[in-house]
Symmetry: C2
Subunit: 87 residues, 2 copies
């Protein structure tokens, strides 16, 4: 499935979150990663995220779409990261 | 259609971008807005965004999905903004 992850975490955890997300997904913008994951990988990622963040203050949103063709992506301005697997 | 907008813009334009996005969408996290728009509204928003940003340095990504039920949303940690129209 196609997965988009956006995060809003305290500055001291940004590096850890980025390292974790890079293992699974492509960086697309400041605090946004996306890519294709199996259901198993997504569950793993969610568990790992739960270990890294402070649930009282940090927020991570995982959007998932079964079929990448269902989602359209338009970039206005500069393209900062990877756009693999999606138009 | 269901729309998710993520932005990565220079600090001096953050307020203008937020004001613009608030006219169309709900704030969900730091630099993320989402909501339901008609195709006409989405085109208007894209034109307005193009006027506000510096296309050489800023980046705004507009994801759109025709049917909100095709996208699943999971929040890990704190829920910061609105989650209208989506589970």
């Amino acid at each position: 499935m196609h997965v988009i992850v956006v995060y809003d975490v305290s500055i001291e955890r940004v590096n850890d979150i980025r390292k974790l997300l890079k293992k699974y997904l492509n960086w697309v913008q400041n605090s946004v990663f996306e890519g294709e994951l199996t259901l198993g990988q997504m569950k793993e990622l969610e568990i790992d995220l739960g270990k890294v963040i402070d649930k009282e203050t940090d927020s991570v949103i995982v959007y998932s779409i079964n079929n990448a063709v269902w989602i359209k992506k338009k970039i206005i301005g500069k393209e900062k990261g990877s756009t693999e697997n999606i138009i």
